[in-house]
């Protein structure tokens, strides 16, 4: 396990998390995240080889509702908070062609 996050790693994580960071922020976060991860390395002290991971505190497994139609939110209600909409659509920049970006 590595304790220290490089600026490059922070840029990579920020890209995965879809967060645009300014250059000065990259180094600031690298230092802070490194300190936290250094502390988290404590977890390596424990032998957990035969321990079952616990993702959830209750024993509930998939709970399904009856397969009957219900009334969803109206288009209007769904679009009401959209920063940019052309009912019944959300508007986004061009995705195909030159707009992909990724």
């Amino acid at each position: 396990m590595s304790h220290t996050l490089t600026d490059e790693q922070v840029r990579h994580v920020a890209r995965l998390a879809r967060l645009k960071l300014a250059d000065d922020q990259v180094h600031y976060f690298a230092q802070q995240l490194s300190a936290v991860l250094g502390y988290v390395d404590k977890l390596a002290e424990l032998d957990v080889q035969n321990v079952e991971p616990m993702a959830h505190p209750s024993a509930i497994t998939n709970r399904f509702r009856d397969d009957v139609p219900t009334q969803p939110l109206s288009n209007e209600a769904v679009l009401a908070n959209a920063p940019d909409a052309d009912p019944p659509f959300f508007k986004v920049p061009k995705v195909l062609g030159d707009g992909g970006g990724a």
Partner: protein, 488 residues
């Protein structure tokens, strides 16, 4: 009767018997908010007109219920069709929820008057209430100090008598810690006991809604209103709900109370250590057996918690994309830039930190070492509690190591801030209930700062836990002391 200086239960009874009207009570609380909230910053929004209408309706008998006409506040990460649901974030500054959270609907159905929505650390991430995009909340006992987070606004609203009771949410201590630092009662129910539908998600396997109140009885009354199965929350527990008030004043015979060495450490401020020792003594005098229990994995809780919580946060907060709702950047280069710039502009630093931590913990090559390992340690922590609860009814410990700290003291050192949660996070990892109640004060330089004690119990043991808390409260009335604020 001074309506703002009484308990929820007494005010409720006074309104029911027409000794006072809901209109008088609501007006009195609104006036107090107007007088003090500029300094304290407990509220993000106050619904004056709506609250007065609801009060009038209650007085006309049109809002019956166990909380008929009583003014309540709710944390601003609970969705409501009235007002906005901001999570104290620029991201949701203008968000109007299309539905009410189940707990909000239940309060309304019980006849409560909702005064307003309270300030929090952005998206419930923080331990000091300094991370709100709309300004900090101040501790009424000393306004240079933090109220604790993330439900700081809800704790202060009760501590400073700006509402009769309130709702908060607790992911790693966000109800119990501000309750302790502000000198009120805060209850984090068992995971699944209260519906999370309409609570804006931070870490879904840890989040739980719960009440703040001036005493244990008021907290039990609030739990009676909000507890229960909800088909809209697939993690809600389909189990009967007892009446938490029924035997509340009946002391528990043969109470066995656990004390764990791991919680009585040198890290505790001397005043905190003294107050907890005194509380243990009080229980002994009440006939409780004090039994030493071992919680050997306690010290790994923070590390496990911050991996689990941030991993879940990174996933939950992916929904803020600048497309469906929330903040959107003005001139994006392309679609990816729309996401990345909107999120960078909308989220504050603590939220960004946690999203990145979680993204890192879940990323290829690190998943096993961080996230998966944290889930295994989570199991060990739960098993510690399971073993302890074979011997005792509840565990008593401090809620926090120290009384309230000063603003800015830990803001640049996230790790120091995270370590604050040392006594509260394991309760969420295990999904068990925990209650914090006042157990004394730290007195220095003419300032009194409240100290909180925490009682932890096995899953679904709220009734017993509240009775245990009530036993103490009935003989040691630290919660009756109120902060003195400028202007009264």
């Amino acid at each position: 009767m001074d309506v703002t200086q009484t308990t929820l239960t007494d005010l409720r009874d006074a309104i029911a018997s027409r000794e006072v009207t809901s209109t008088q009570a609501t007006r009195a609380y609104l006036d107090r908010i107007a007088a003090h909230d500029k300094t304290l910053g407990a509220y993000t929004q106050v619904f004056e007109e709506r609250a007065m209408q609801q009060a009038a309706a209650a007085d006309a008998g049109k809002r019956p219920g166990v909380l008929a006409g009583v003014p309540i506040a709710i944390k601003d990460n609970l969705c409501s069709t009235f007002g906005r649901t901001t999570c104290s974030s620029r991201m949701l500054e203008n968000f109007r929820a299309p539905y009410d959270a189940t707990v909000v609907a239940k309060l309304e159905a019980a006849g409560a008057v909702i005064l307003g929505k309270t300030n929090l650390d952005e998206f419930a991430m923080g331990s000091s209430c300094e991370n709100s995009a709309f300004g900090v909340t101040r501790n009424p006992w000393d306004t240079d100090r933090v109220p604790g987070g993330s439900s700081g606004g809800s704790a202060v609203a009760v501590a400073a008598d700006l509402c009769a009771a309130s709702l908060g949410s607790d992911t790693g201590g966000s109800i119990r810690m501000p309750a302790a630092l502000c000198g009120v009662v805060g209850l984090k129910p068992t995971y699944g006991r209260v519906s999370r539908f309409g609570l804006v998600a931070y870490a879904s396997s840890l989040d739980q809604v719960g009440p703040f109140a001036r005493n244990v009885k008021d907290a039990a009354l609030m739990l009676n209103v909000i507890a229960g199965f909800d088909k809209m929350d697939s993690t809600s527990a389909d189990a009967p709900v007892p009446d938490y008030l029924a035997d509340l004043d009946k002391p528990i015979e043969g109470l066995k109370l656990g004390v764990a060495r791991q919680y009585m450490s040198d890290a505790n401020d001397p005043a905190v250590a003294r107050a907890i020792e005194a509380a243990i003594g009080a229980y002994r005098n009440l006939g409780a057996r004090i039994i030493e229990v071992d919680l050997p994995h306690t010290e790994y809780g923070i590390a496990a918690y911050y991996m689990v919580a941030t991993a879940e946060a990174s996933s939950n907060l992916a929904r803020y994309d600048g497309v469906h709702y929330g903040h959107r950047t003005a001139k994006p280069d392309d679609l990816i830039d729309l996401y990345a710039a909107s999120r960078a502009e909308g989220f504050g630093d603590e939220v960004k930190r946690r999203i990145m931590l979680g993204t890192y913990a879940l990323s290829s090559g690190y998943y096993d070492a961080y996230y998966l390992r944290a889930l295994k340690v989570r199991r060990l922590i739960k098993e510690d509690f399971d073993k302890a609860f074979e011997q005792v009814d509840a565990i008593i410990c401090p809620t926090t190591t120290h009384p309230a700290f000063r603003f800015g003291e830990k803001t640049d050192d996230p790790l120091a801030m995270y370590l604050n949660d040392v006594y509260t996070v394991n309760c969420n990892l295990a999904g068990i209930p925990g209650v914090s109640l006042p157990c004394g004060f730290s007195e220095a330089d003419g300032v009194a700062l409240p100290i909180g004690m925490q009682l932890l119990g096995p899953a679904m043991s709220e009734a017993k836990l509240l009775r245990t808390a009530r036993m103490y409260e009935a003989c040691e009335r630290h919660g009756a002391r109120r902060p003195v604020m400028a202007g009264g």
